[in-house]
Symmetry: C2
């Protein structure tokens, strides 16, 4: 068992060291930070390393941090993860309403009554915008497709003092759509490739089966099923907790998204899908923790992987 | 006077052409798009051009698309732009509430009653996270500072069929904090530099005084004041509207943010601030409109500016 208090103390100390050195710029809200040039340079280099590993990508797409609210309704995200979702609210009203709202806000009082739900929600997983776009093109081509969905911002409403648990972070995402055997083989091959990638940075990475943080009592069964069916693989690396932290996941969805969005193979069968996500800030934090806060002093082999020198 | 209907028809036709060619990936919500690799490659090159122009930058910071709600309360954003702001709501409730929420959502019914205001809001201007961080360090150093705030995502709740009017876009932002004369000179010099930068891409850019879209009756006076005091300069480029579109702005805030955040000069006087923002998607759209949808066929001089070849 992890000693949570000890773990947390180490995490907070690491967080304070990062903030003191200016690598992390606290916003005043737990799990929401800015970063300085040094942090960003490492993150960009990690992103580049993943790009170079993705020679199987057939197409790139880039998405904003919001998606249509209807999408998370369709996907059923609120059934599984109601506690993590974020929706966007906005003002609808006349000049008097605006004055009242501004007065409440200026006094830091509740101004939520003036805000109304918009058509938009925060992206909960960087693969979600991909499915309806690919589905709108008709049946998948022979061999399926591999979509690089870029380094999109992802929201999870889980405020924490752990600098590795962010409310808003960048998930480098690649999505595979195709026949069941192709998709599963891709998922497994990429988990191996990801393990090699992290180890090439001299991180003590391990692979394990995992489950998503499904909500509530019903969620416990979903977690057990997911683990039993080996649908989710994670790569775990020590950061500042007592236990290693998941920095990448490789998820086989079977026909879950394909059924929802009508993704078909050429022969009319339902496609299968998988996605992978690398947590860019977590990998950056793992590197800073492992090799120190000054990247120019990192081992030559690690610098060569990241910057070619 | 602009013929709005004609303008809109041309804009919609441009939008349809972009979507058909796959450069723009419609989400189903006006003003929210994804982009393909070609679009993104141009945007990244434009971003690089601005980086190279910013030799006066003393420090870089990178921020997520959210900021503490308290920040927009402090800044008074809701007084001036209540119609553009976005706040983040999230679920707070037990398992029964979660079931009710998911059922409403699955039927595309209203589930807003289950969502509650969080501590987070969408970033309304990419310079906002910078001021409290610089203020927390004490008085500005001699000569002030120039902070590159990166290419941050910015939210404006103004759904539109014009592909150049986005609800979520990337504003490449640089912020100047210092003595009044330094700050004003910087603002003016950068507006000139920006004009040169756009013209080097063979865009028909013009500079003009402008005003922000302040809300309501009181806003009309704020607009007039801003224009009269020449606080806001814009660079305008033809895209698909009848009138040119603003693609960059250069804003002198006098002591507006400095008073709010306690930004001081070394002698104890209140600092002044200015910021500039380049609208990355708008500049990309202007280039696609001007030079065609195939960047490999753009004029050699333009390609050299963007990609060095």
């Amino acid at each position: 068992m992890t000693d949570v208090l000890t773990g947390t103390a180490v995490q907070v100390a690491f967080y304070e060291e990062l903030a003191e050195r200016g690598l992390l710029l606290p916003s005043g809200v737990p799990g929401l930070y800015g970063w300085n040039h040094t942090f960003e340079a490492v993150r960009v280099a990690v992103d580049g390393l993943i790009t170079r590993a993705g020679s199987d990508v057939s197409e790139s797409m880039h998405f904003p941090p919001l998606l249509p609210r209807r999408r998370i309704e369709e996907i059923g995200y609120l059934q599984s993860f109601p506690h993590l979702a974020g929706s966007v609210f906005s003002f609808e009203g006349d000049e008097d309403d605006a004055v009242a709202q501004a007065e409440h806000a200026a006094r830091h009082e509740d101004w939520s009554e003036h805000q109304h739900m918009t058509e938009l929600a925060l992206v909960p997983a960087a693969c979600y915008p991909v499915y309806p776009i690919v589905a709108s093109r008709g049946a998948l081509p022979e061999g399926g497709v591999v979509v690089d969905a870029g380094g999109g911002w992802v929201f999870r409403h889980e405020p924490s003092e752990d600098p590795a648990r962010l409310q808003m972070f960048r998930q480098r995402e690649i999505v595979r759509l195709g026949a069941p055997d192709e998709v599963l083989a891709w998922r497994d091959a990429w988990s191996e490739r990801g393990l090699g990638l992290l180890r090439s940075l001299e991180l003590e990475a391990e692979r394990d089966h995992a489950s998503d943080p499904f909500f509530g009592r019903a969620g416990r069964m979903l977690k057990a099923n997911q683990r039993q069916q080996e649908l989710k693989l994670e790569l775990l690396v020590p950061i500042a907790g007592e236990e290693p932290t998941a920095v990448a996941s490789f998820n086989y969805h079977r026909d879950h998204f394909a059924v929802k969005f009508g993704l078909q193979l050429r022969d009319g069968d339902t496609a299968h899908t998988a996605c992978l996500g690398f947590g860019q800030e977590r990998i950056t934090l793992a590197l800073l923790r492992r090799h120190g806060l000054e990247p120019s002093a990192w081992p030559q082999t690690v610098r060569r992987e990241l910057w070619g020198a």
